[in-house]
Symmetry: C2
Subunit: 288 residues, 2 copies
């Protein structure tokens, strides 16, 4: 991994985890079962990419201070909630995530559904602390039927179907890119971005998010199960709509590389772009 990125991960991940620990209800607080389930999934060892992007976007536009952390944590809670619900038997029916049994395998389906719901609500409670309703509106829009949920619905609908590149882009832009975009938008808005900055960072995140999901599709075929921390071949098994299925692995890799180049080009000059560029390089080269 790139040195800049490694330093950023080493610095940010423990900080984000400290904030998450502070902001989540303690697991000995009643009702304990739900707090344990929430914490289990939040602390299952994510890369914290989305909160890092929110913090970096905040700084990129000149934001200062710690007020970005509750926003960044809110984004991570939303990401976690969506993973918990996606893993449910009625959805993708996944038993492992990040090398650990999924939430419903440990706490049962009812608690997993409710843990997702509670993380969803807590995210908005944290976002409300920004006192900026515009940020809340953007995030809410990104995770509804025009974003996260819409992507997941079509992802399930198109299982086992012939799919075009357009179909898969429709899913990936919503299922993955929308929350990448919301992360940088929330960060940039909290840091008082100019319109030009907001447009630039939005373009960057949209392309990065799409490329991220394409490399996810590729890793599901070529990746290493242990390094990846989840079942390999699960897309093939469920005959999911993926880029490799629509256009083949080589073409998928090409599209992801082009998106990464375009993402980098979207970044404004005279800004501290180095971490974003390192993130872009990580997304295209990642093995986990």
């Amino acid at each position: 991994m790139d040195v800049i990125l490694k330093k950023a991960f080493d610095k940010y991940i423990p900080l984000i985890d400290q904030w998450l620990d502070k902001l989540l209800p303690k697991d000995d607080k009643p009702p304990q079962a739900i707090h344990r389930a929430m914490r289990y999934s939040v602390f299952a060892g994510g890369k914290r990419l989305r909160p890092i992007m929110a913090i970096e976007a905040f700084k990129w536009v000149g934001g200062k201070g710690a007020k970005i952390y509750p926003v960044a944590c809110a984004i991570e809670l939303i990401h976690t909630y969506s993973l918990i619900h996606d893993d449910l038997p009625a959805m993708d029916n996944d038993d492992f995530r990040r090398n650990k049994p999924t939430c419903h395998k440990v706490f049962g389906e009812a608690n997993a559904i409710l843990a997702g719901d509670a993380l969803h609500a807590l995210a908005f409670e944290l976002l409300a602390k920004t006192d900026d309703a515009k940020i809340i509106g953007e995030v809410a829009n990104a995770i509804g039927t025009e974003g996260l949920v819409g992507g997941q619905v079509v992802d399930i609908e198109l299982e086992g179907c012939d799919v075009s590149e357009d179909d898969v882009r429709f899913i990936h832009e919503r299922k993955t890119a929308a929350l990448f975009v919301a992360s940088v938008q929330a960060g940039a808005m909290a840091g008082i971005a100019s319109e030009k900055e907001l447009k630039s960072i939005t373009q960057f995140a949209k392309r990065l998010g799409l490329a991220f999901q394409i490399t996810d599709d590729i890793l599901d075929i070529k990746g290493d199960q242990e390094e990846l921390g989840k079942d390999i071949g699960s897309d093939l098994e469920h005959d999911k709509a993926t880029y490799p299925k629509a256009v083949g692995i080589e073409k998928s890799q090409e599209i992801a590389e082009q998106l990464i180049q375009k993402a980098k080009k979207a970044l404004l000059p005279n800004h501290s772009n180095s971490l974003f560029i390192a993130l872009a390089d990580f997304v295209i080269n990642r093995t986990y």
Copy 2:
């Protein structure tokens, strides 16, 4: 039903439904399946008690204009989302609600989970239009583990257990009263309430909400299945934590009546209390 209440229902329900229709994505908008599922449950014929309470609280503190309607609709979307998730096979496993098959029976479990998630997100998108982050924070808090979700978790945990009145109150205050409270708080805050007004209407709604859930428990034993629109005896079948189980039907009725008296007493003088009083009388005398 009381004349004041009937007039209010006749006036507000169609208005709220018009707003809901305007604010929900059309069902021919892709992805159609999720929009159809959302609309199916939202328009399944609810009493719209919570949005009416939000609107009434707004007017009660002197609020004017239509800006309360998106807030009131957000509350109803949250209520609907919570019913959809509560009805799921992994939770209460209910097949009927308001005389219609439940969401997952019609659209499948995956779409029902996602329709709930999407209504949850859309509610916050609508609340964000108030430009008042404090309202958003209150509502988010009321539906997380300190409110709605917390109540549902303990409700499931205590199935089949011996329960005390305190146990059941813990559940009912969270599962039902919390959203009644959030409804009037959101309305009152949108109408710029004084602290005294906020305290009064909060006390009213907390007692009303608890009484409402107690009468719900009683109706599950003594009610008419058709009039009620859902299965009777479902609490007994699942050995749920209810007031009749903890203290018997007669004592439950007494407690509900006392709560209704106390609710009325919490209302400030020199305010237009008539609809709230009619609502309180409805809650204690209702047969559906």
